[in-house]
């Protein structure tokens, strides 16, 4: 595991690189896209564990903090949706440069799933596999919006996954762990794995790693 800063002088991003522990027929590489705000903080260890599992399964993995979040440069609130999407593109370029792998997998959780889907659209030559884990949608009881608890960046507009479906990689997994979150998924195929949400601070659940979800993702990516 190598923590490092990358990006430009004006937009330094913090990332952690896990090299592939076993190389199969062809090296694979994945960028993990974090959720946003407190969801990013609460889910941090879970995504670290996902990176470790993918690394053991033969992926080079880069996870990173968007500008203005986590350990990356910028003040909280400095970033917006388009900026975070451009950060994913920066991370993809960094991982390709580090590993030489031409086509990537993106794995996004919550808002990170929306950003990953948006970044994927029309990039079939660069991204061949996409995992959207509990994407933050309009049908989500936790938000975004006044009634919801999820924090979102400036200029966030609900990503309409159903309208993006035609532009997403043919190998796309929408993974839902909560009831009532399928509202805006549209025609995309969905798989359900019941699990406590790692992005929420709950008295009896905080810090628990949803191992069944991580195993499901790793197996699906094989």
């Amino acid at each position: 595991m190598t923590p490092f800063y990358f990006g430009t002088r004006q937009r330094r991003l913090f990332g952690v690189y896990d090299p592939a522990q076993k190389i199969g027929k062809a090296a694979r590489a994945a960028v993990i896209c974090h959720p946003w705000g407190s969801e990013q903080i609460h889910a941090y260890r879970t995504l670290r564990q996902l990176a470790a599992r993918l690394s053991q399964d033969g992926f080079h993995v880069l996870r990173f903090d968007y500008y203005g979040t986590g350990d990356s440069a910028g003040d909280t609130g400095d970033n917006d949706f388009a900026g975070s999407r451009s950060d994913i593109e920066t991370a993809m370029a960094e991982l390709k440069d580090m590993t030489g792998v031409a086509r990537l997998t993106l794995v996004g959780l919550r808002l990170g799933a929306c950003l990953a889907a948006d970044a994927c659209a029309g990039r079939a030559e660069e991204i061949d596999t996409l995992v959207l884990w509990d994407p933050l949608t309009a049908g989500d009881p936790a938000g975004p919006g006044p009634a919801g608890s999820a924090e979102v960046p400036r200029n966030f507009t609900n990503v309409d996954l159903s309208s993006l479906a035609a532009e997403l990689p043919s190998r796309t997994l929408v993974l839902l762990t909560q009831d009532g979150m399928a509202g805006a998924i549209g025609s995309l195929a969905v798989e359900h794995v019941a699990s406590a949400p790692p992005w929420i601070e709950e008295r009896m659940q905080t810090g628990a790693i949803p191992v069944n979800v991580l195993q499901h993702i790793v197996h699906w990516l094989r």
Partner: protein
């Protein structure tokens, strides 16, 4: 380099298993003592709740302090330990590893530890065991309840009908604490009972830790919050009332954020907190670290493995 500081990702510890971010002053601000080490709160990784430690570290670094934020073993990006230490002993060992790394990599020999909640408790337990520690910033450390705390707590709760119903049913904090104390006093609860902050043994242990810190001439900056209805403390002097025989005197600066919640959620509370820490670091008469030879000769850690 950014606005008077620069940041670097670092790997620490004997097995390079701990991950942290070092913020250093750049340019003219370079070289103000002491260095600052910020500890995790619970299982939240090194950025802290609301990213509060990122802003704190950057502000302190821009003012001239070397600042390290790192994750304890098993938290955030850091690997879990494999040496079988219990969780508290592991945290204390991790703090020592972090200070050793700072000493070796940044020529630092004088450190202030900053911690919130469990981080404050670990800072208090570690500080007096290591001569490199010159000060502690304790944000909502564990403080036993006092008579005035119970009175304030009751007054706050009396305005809520639900609290009355809970009290009438024999539930709630007051009943729980009373029953626990009485049962322990008359011997119907065993010596193995862990009564938390109402346990007289815990109070004695905390008192001893404060005494040891003061004997080592460690300067203390304690910030308490009172905005949470669940209540850890309800007034500024609760620390002094809880430990009336501890000679804090001028080695303690005590502040009370009456309306702030436990995690300093509003940005203005965090900005005020950071400004206070800056002021305290600039004004506190930290003892100079003793001569290097003395520091290196003495056992760095006298005590590990307090019961938690």
């Amino acid at each position: 380099m950014m606005d008077g500081y620069n940041e670097q990702a670092v790997l620490l510890g004997r097995a390079k298993s701990l991950i942290g971010v070092l913020a250093r002053p750049s340019g003219e601000a370079r070289g103000r003592r002491p260095a600052v080490v910020i500890l995790n709160t619970g299982i939240i990784h090194r950025v802290g709740q609301h990213r509060m430690y990122v802003a704190m570290a950057r502000r302190l670094a821009a003012a001239g302090h070397v600042v390290l934020r790192f994750d304890f073993s098993g938290i955030g990006d850091s690997r879990s330990r494999t040496d079988g230490l219990n969780p508290l002993a592991a945290c204390l060992a991790d703090v020592q590893d972090a200070l050793d790394w700072l000493t070796q990599s940044c020529s630092v020999n004088e450190v202030v530890l900053v911690g919130l909640c469990s981080g404050a408790d670990i800072a208090l337990r570690y500080g007096h065991t290591d001569r490199r520690v010159a000060g502690l910033v304790l944000l909502d450390p564990a403080i036993p309840p006092t008579a005035r705390f119970y009175r304030d707590y009751l007054l706050r709760r009396m305005t809520r009908m639900r609290s009355w119903l809970t009290f009438a049913r024999g539930g709630g904090r007051i009943w729980g604490d009373l029953v626990g104390r009485i049962a322990f006093a008359i011997g119907t609860r065993s010596a193995a009972w862990d009564g938390g902050l109402i346990d007289p043994r815990t109070r004695g242990e905390l008192e001893s830790l404060y005494r040891s810190s003061l004997e080592r001439d460690i300067r203390l900056f304690v910030v308490l919050t009172g905005g949470d209805l669940a209540g850890r403390q309800t007034y500024r002097e609760q620390l002094l009332d809880a430990f009336p025989t501890v000679p804090f005197e001028d080695k303690l600066r005590l502040e009370y954020f009456a309306d702030a919640d436990h995690t300093f959620a509003p940005p203005e509370d965090r900005a005020r907190l950071n400004a206070m820490i800056m002021d305290w670091l600039a004004a506190a008469p930290f003892r100079h670290a003793s001569a290097q030879s003395e520091q290196q000769d003495m056992p760095i850690r006298k005590q590990v493995g307090y019961g938690m």
